[in-house]
């Protein structure tokens, strides 16, 4: 079977204007920052970003590449409100579809299952429904007649995911405490790009680790990109914790355009920069 491992030139060719891109991880945890940096360098614009949002969303807001964010929250964990996202929201420069977190999970799951929607109670009575009139309620066809939310499928052109390890076939291994919903992102996407701290043989993946750690199987992954430190400055346990100092520097850069340009030039524009999403 041919290898799915790609280099950075091939990676760059996978991004285009107007894409709907789902980004795995959660908040400032195990975000695919190397892939996000590549997306920034590609210059692709008018993006719709789907995320349990963290600095991935904030950076793409700061670069002006985002048209719309589909999210349940955007946070840096140790800094509660993502300052670059907040700045874009308060300036009114981005659209948002703000969903209850469990609705976003439902939408991704429906897309992966090739269903038009998933039924849930979540969202009933809240302004998540009034602010998103495209989301409809339905009546249970059974005796109960319950009113329920029909959460529409959230289909993705691309999914970007970072895991601890992968093989060249596209099997992906999560060794950290929480897989979040990265597998749902992978299944919801036309094309999934998996970056990993290291690319090893399939045999090495299961040496000393239960196969249950293999979160993604190769039917869910189209391309593999080796990116040591590829989630940095977010957590990638057990490989590394969050770099709180760099995160503070990133957050502080929201206070002026000059500071942001400096951060971007230092850590993102140069592919071989030390961080984020490069060698630590």
């Amino acid at each position: 079977m041919p290898s799915k491992v790609i280099d950075s030139a091939a990676l760059n060719g996978l991004f285009s204007d107007g894409m709907t891109i789902g980004i795995g991880g959660w908040g400032s945890r195990r975000k695919p920052m190397a892939l996000v940096a590549a997306l920034i360098r590609s210059g692709a614009r008018n993006l719709r970003i789907v995320s349990f949002g963290g600095p991935d969303v904030g950076m793409l807001c700061a670069t002006g590449q985002v048209k719309e964010v589909i999210h349940g929250f955007v946070t840096l964990d140790s800094i509660a409100v993502e300052p670059h996202f907040a700045a874009a929201r308060q300036a009114g420069t981005i659209k948002t579809a703000e969903l209850d977190e469990s609705m976003l999970v439902s939408g991704l799951r429906a897309a992966g299952r090739r269903l038009p929607f998933e039924v849930t109670r979540s969202g009933l009575g809240s302004d998540v429904l009034t602010a998103n009139p495209q989301i409809r309620t339905i009546t249970s066809p059974y005796e109960d007649g319950d009113t329920l939310v029909a959460m529409p499928a959230v289909q993705l052109d691309l999914a970007l995911i970072h895991l601890n390890r992968a093989d060249h076939l596209g099997n992906g291994q999560c060794l950290g405490p929480d897989p979040f919903v990265d597998d749902l992102f992978a299944r919801a996407a036309q094309c999934t790009i998996l970056s990993a701290e290291s690319v090893v043989s399939t045999r090495e993946l299961v040496e000393g680790h239960h196969p249950a750690t293999l979160l993604l199987n190769r039917t869910m992954v189209d391309h593999v990109f080796e990116a040591p430190g590829g989630a940095h400055f977010t957590t990638c346990l057990p490989d590394y914790p969050r770099n709180e100092e760099l995160q503070r520097e990133y957050a502080h850069s929201a206070s002026s355009p000059a500071l942001w340009e400096e951060f971007r030039a230092r850590y993102i524009d140069n592919e071989h920069a030390s961080t984020p999403g490069g060698q630590q």
């Binding site: 946070t75 308060q90 009114g92």
Partner: protein
Amino acid sequence: MSEVTIPQSTRAEIAVTACSDLFHGQGDILASPAGIIPTIGARLAALTHAPDLMLSDGESTIYAGVPALEHQGVPGGYLPYRELFELIAAGKRHVVMGGAQIDREGNHNFSAIGQHSKPHRQLLGARAAAANTINHRTSYWIPKHSRRSMVERVDFVTGVGRTRAENAGKRAARFHQVHQVVSNLGVFDFSGPGHTMSLVSIHPGVIVEEVIESTGFALNIPDAVQSTRLPNRQELHLIREVLDPLQRREQEVRS
């Protein structure tokens, strides 16, 4: 146990026991407290009247036993992010949420302040407040009770109050249960006309006028105002010596 000679309790400690009392009669559910005082309160409940409560680190680990505030705790189970939504849908949870705004009808907001399309101040986002309120028992913790946090109408409804839940469609409110609000001033529920907020008790040291003055809408005030109970000797020992020896509670609510 005699309560005659108990030492003076701080406001924070009274709020902790009020949060503990939220969990009366509950067991084999996940207690999900947000904030320092509700966290101590839930753990106090588990150490006293509600020993079967399940506690977690708020991430992927369920605790075996009841750790102190500053301790990691011993793992006793696994609750990754996705499983939390299964647990919510099954109704096996009582969440105590913080919030920037709560209104007279029990609607809650921690999404954004101002017009939602271009807010004056972006906050966390919708999170799972809507899922929580429509699926299982929900309480609220307001450490700074003021006209900014207790408002006539929230700017964006994340957590759903009773009237909105009932009006959301047939049987939409079948699992809805907004229980109580604990603030630094008192305890409240939604037993007023049309499920509006009522004063249950004021914390010792607070006068009713202060509560009325600090609330941005007309509270229902009972004729005879109750006082929030004081922690007993055992509870004070657990709060001070076991759960929170570093007194982080006093930073969240100052006496």
